[in-house]
């Protein structure tokens, strides 16, 4: 019945099952990669043992002693953001991601941003809605792969490549997933995640990608903390700006709640452990009563932390870092709901990355590697990548394993990138959407009902005349306002998808409205839906309403006038008849939400079914 569609729910069992199936298949590929890694490692290790004698071992030990350990600050960044990427990848594996990502993450993120941001993000939302499975699994493997690469490659080219990959993917997520961190949206605040969690991933990735000699002086740490200081002072000013709703709580339940109170109340009602919900509720109540005071404290602490970081005085910086980290953790728990609770969480939000950058900046400032300049120069000027493999294997006992592991991590990334990119380049939606709404085409084998009707130009048409072609028969109301125009477009798109095979196919609609049976209504519908140029399109009606009714009954279709100004209720089916005149498939044609994605998906499913019928013996 029009408007009474089954819809497309976030946790559609069909889509979730397909998502899990794809993840499993790709997981097997990853497992295969890991097996290859073990073989490769074994081969390299064997070669390593063969080529290294005692003399080389001595040399290796000497050079290893000369090599400085990885700077602690860099290691903290690399390992922590590696773990964060892996966590994000795992979160991307939630069942609701394929269908929930676009409507619950991408579109809301951009909803309050300017139109141009919505346009930019709309591109990704559209692509995602066309290929929810491919892109969901791509996000899982890309993020896990980047995380693993960061973890297994502590030094050298692989490690810097991990940093670059982190920056690249982070920018993609920041722009499309977070709508530029919502920096262009009104009413945003540091408390809510401004300037976007993934921007910190990008910064961390960029720092990891820097040449290792950059970490040999406190200059880098000072720069990190100064940038953070500028950010915090800016966020304090933004938080203090009047008229944005942060300076008041909620005077009474009947008055408008302030921005923070309102957000807290909303978060407290999202699904999460009772303990956290009670904390959020308590803080919401506290903010409602003391909104001005809470904001004053936030503003002062943000400003104070920012200024201490900018001051560069050791004692002040230490205090600022500690206070900043405490503030981040408190905000993470009390305002950001740990980032992943409630709704479709794709990362732990901005506070943990911010705290990690504080910590890493402080370490980079205060704990620089204790190596002399000549070693630094030697390490910096003779990168491992330029040494022959034989020598690299000889110098570093862990080189074989790390190289193989890094290759495996790159492989994991490619497991996501390749199908994801292929899907993104495909302008036609996955048929899984149509199957999720209507189920798979139902195979059958029975004589097709015969009909004798007239087409949109008044010419008689009988099914027998169409023998030798595959025929798709559906029922359309020429004055329908939603479902029928959508189904008509799906048929038109399917016709285009068929290409040359369209000449062996006849697309037929039978008028489903018992009131409007004259050919001028059919022609008006064709004009409206741009169907007049389709050579294989027939829109049929009865010379009398009784003949039309007989055709409905023959196909098991129904049509009934609805009361109270609703559309006519009628069957939404497509019967696919083979060239031999036998009924081969039944497709439910409920257009569901009627989005471009579901429309395209149904077209692909119909075209595929018609091809199947044409190729059947």
């Amino acid at each position: 019945m029009p408007g009474m569609n089954a819809g497309l729910h976030t946790n559609s069992p069909t889509v979730v099952a397909a998502f899990h199936r794809t993840l499993l298949h790709q997981g097997l590929v990853v497992a295969l990669l890991m097996a290859l890694l073990l073989v490769a490692w074994n081969v390299l290790r064997t070669r390593q043992l063969r080529i290294t004698g005692d003399a080389v071992d001595h040399r290796a030990g000497r050079l290893a002693a000369l090599s400085a350990p990885e700077p602690l600050a860099r290691r903290v960044l690399r390992v922590s953001f590696g773990l964060l990427w892996i966590l994000d990848g795992i979160l991307q594996g939630q069942s609701s991601m394929p269908l929930g990502m676009a409507p619950q993450v991408l579109q809301p993120a951009a909803a309050s941003s300017p139109t141009w941001v919505q346009h930019v993000d709309g591109v990704m939302a559209t692509i995602w809605s066309y290929h929810p499975i491919s892109l969901s699994t791509a996000a899982v493997w890309i993020q896990i792969g980047i995380g693993v690469l960061l973890l297994v490659a502590p030094r050298g080219t692989w490690s810097r490549l991990a940093g670059v990959a982190s920056v690249g993917w982070g920018i993609v997520v920041w722009v499309f997933g977070e709508a530029f961190g919502q920096v262009f949206a009104p009413g945003q605040s540091w408390l809510f995640g401004l300037p976007g969690a993934v921007l910190f991933y990008c910064v961390a990735g960029a720092l990891v990608a820097l040449p290792e000699r950059s970490w040999s002086t406190p200059r880098l740490g000072r720069a990190i903390l100064r940038v953070m200081g500028v950010l915090f002072v800016g966020m304090a000013l933004l938080q203090a700006w009047p008229g944005r709703g942060f300076w008041h709580g909620q005077a009474s339940p009947h008055t408008n709640a302030g921005t923070l109170t309102s957000m807290l109340q909303q978060m407290a009602h999202s699904p999460q452990p009772q303990l956290l919900a009670s904390w959020l509720s308590a803080f919401a109540a506290f903010d409602a009563a003391h909104g001005w005071g809470v904001n004053l404290v936030v503003v002062l602490v943000l400003a104070a932390v920012g200024i201490t970081l900018l001051s560069a005085r050791p004692g002040l910086v230490r205090v600022g870092v500690v206070v900043g980290i405490v503030l981040c953790l408190a905000t993470w728990v009390l305002v950001q709901d740990l980032g992943v609770l409630g709704g479709v969480g794709t990362d732990p939000n901005s506070m943990i990355p911010t705290a990690l950058l504080f910590f890493a900046g402080y370490l980079a400032l205060t704990m620089v590697p204790d190596v002399d300049a000549s070693t630094v120069v030697a390490i910096g000027s003779t990168p491992a990548a330029r040494r022959p493999l034989r020598e690299r294997l000889a110098l570093d006992p862990t080189y074989a394993f790390r190289s193989a592991a890094a290759l495996c991590a790159v492989g994991i990334v490619l497991v996501g990138v390749v199908p994801g990119a292929a899907a993104a380049a495909d302008p036609h939606a996955s048929p899984i959407l149509a199957e999720a709404i209507n189920g798979s085409p139902q195979a059958t084998n029975a004589p097709a009902p015969l009909f004798h009707l007239i087409d949109q130009y008044g010419r008689p048409v009988a099914l027998a005349r169409l023998r030798g072609k595959a025929v798709a028969v559906t029922f359309l109301d020429p004055v329908c306002t939603s479902a029928c125009p959508t189904i008509a477009q799906e048929l038109r798109d399917a016709d285009e998808l068929l290409g040359n095979a369209a000449s062996k196919v006849e697309l037929v609609a039978i008028d489903a409205n018992p009131r409007y049976v004259t050919t001028n209504y059919l022609q008006a519908f064709d004009e409206e839906e741009h169907l007049t140029s389709m050579r294989n399109w027939l829109y049929l009606t009865g010379a009398t309403p009784a003949k039309l009714r007989r055709a409905w009954h023959a196909f098991g279709a129904y049509s009934a006038l609805s009361p109270a100004g609703a559309m006519v209720a009628h069957s939404e089916l497509v019967d696919v008849i083979g060239p031999d005149g036998r009924l081969r498939y039944l497709l439910n044609a409920d257009p569901g939400p009627g989005t471009e994605a579901t429309q395209s998906s149904f077209s692909v499913l119909l075209a595929t079914t018609l091809r199947k019928v044409l190729s059947a013996p």
Partner: protein, 402 residues
């Protein structure tokens, strides 16, 4: 590892400047959100008072919106009918056999009654149905573009001709049909009217109503020139101005022809005047039998934020106007051709959406609350409206949603 001394503060001022600049940029982008300027003046416009009624010798027809009126796709327009001999109304909207979310436009001439269905959602043309036997049987017409959202966007004359205001072109046009209501041709476009003598004076920005004065097509316009009334008759193959002279108190505002109501031997033209101040709004009715001599009512001055929600003919030649006041209450006025003056009626029930001719010279007030229709009657001698009927309309909410 070793601890190094921290550097001296060097560029604190620069950093603070950066923070300030960044914040200012964020604030400036925040201010230019999508909501800015979203509600530009509908101030000079008039609401599309589609809820209305028409009379035929066999009975009264009315159309009202029901359902969830704040949701376009859950607003379903109903087609109501009361036979002359009865006081009970019944719902005949099933005859339209399509979704009525866009609204219905009614027209009548003698026993012929026509309904145009305004397009909505993905439908872009307007189904038309006509009856000459009080809805016992219906015939189909078809306007292959959408009817405009005006209560008099469709007109028929007893000879079988019809006029429609279509929205096929960006500026609107008038189409005519000779009889069947299935074949239409463009009679004149807004641009063409704008190039006539009338158009150059009036500078029309919309075609708002069509009607027949006798057999001559009549077109109403919304003018941009203050004091000018855009009303044209197709006489001798040429569009000629045929407009009343406004009283001095209404001659400084911009005038829109809100409706052209057919009466027994002429038309009643409803005029809306805005200005010279934006909040000053007045309604007038002008009556004519020939397009050259007019009898015009004094202006009915509307209170601030009050707006007309329905107007139409009732009782043969009386024209009613239903006005919603700022507090949601309704006021009703009658203006008769004989008196050409406004007569306030007892306040109708607050949920009244239109008035219609009732039995034996009475008036019916049709009130809507969700899916309930309430009828109240005002007999000629009564001082209050009495509820006579309630009707539950089984609306399929959600049935028009994609």
């Amino acid at each position: 590892m070793t601890f190094r001394s921290l550097g001296r503060p060097t560029s604190l001022a620069l950093a603070l400047g950066l923070a300030l600049g960044g914040t200012a940029a964020l604030l400036s982008t925040s201010a230019s959100g999508p909501a800015a300027g979203a509600t530009r003046a509908r101030a000079l416009g008039w609401p599309s008072a589609l809820a209305t009624s028409v009379d035929t010798p066999s009975g009264s027809w009315a159309t009202v919106a029901m359902g969830h009126l704040r949701q376009r796709l859950n607003t379903f327009w109903q087609l109501l009918y009361r036979p002359s001999a009865s006081s009970d109304w019944s719902n005949q909207v099933k005859a339209t056999a399509t979704a009525t979310n866009g609204g219905l436009v009614l027209a009548a001439a003698g026993q012929t009654f026509a309904v145009g269905v305004r397009p909505s959602l993905l439908l872009r043309f307007s189904p038309l149905i006509t009856t000459t036997n009080a809805g016992a049987t219906w015939a189909d017409g078809l306007l292959d573009e959408g009817l405009a959202a005006h209560p008099n966007a469709l007109a028929i004359d007893p000879a079988g001709s019809a006029l429609a205001v279509g929205n096929g072109s960006s500026s609107g046009n008038v189409l005519d049909s000779a009889g069947s209501l299935a074949r239409w041709r463009t009679l004149v476009s807004l641009a063409s009217l704008g190039s006539t003598r009338l158009g150059r004076a009036c500078r029309p920005h919309a075609i708002t109503a069509v009607g027949f004065l006798g057999t001559e097509p009549e077109v109403g316009l919304a003018c941009s020139t203050p004091g000018d009334v855009g009303l044209a008759l197709l006489r001798g193959g040429r569009w000629t101005p045929a407009a009343p002279v406004l009283p001095a108190s209404a001659s400084h505002g911009t005038v829109s022809v809100l409706g052209i109501e057919p009466e027994a031997v002429g038309t009643a033209v409803v005029l809306g005047v805005v200005g010279p101040q934006d909040h000053e709004r007045r309604l007038l009715v002008s009556w004519t039998h020939n397009g050259s001599s007019w009898r015009t009512s004094p202006p009915l001055r509307l209170a601030t934020n009050a707006e007309p929600v329905s107007y139409g003919l009732a009782g043969g030649s009386d024209l009613f106007v239903l006005v919603r006041m700022r507090d949601g209450s309704k006021r009703a006025y009658l203006d008769g051709a004989a008196s050409a003056s406004w007569r306030p009626l007892p306040p109708p029930p607050a949920d009244t959406v239109t008035l219609a001719e009732g039995p034996r010279g009475s008036l019916d007030a049709l009130g809507v609350a969700g899916t309930m229709l309430r009828i109240a009657i005002l007999t000629p001698s009564a001082a209050t409206w009495d509820e006579t009927q309630t009707l539950h309309v089984p609306i399929e909410l959600g049935s028009s949603s994609p």
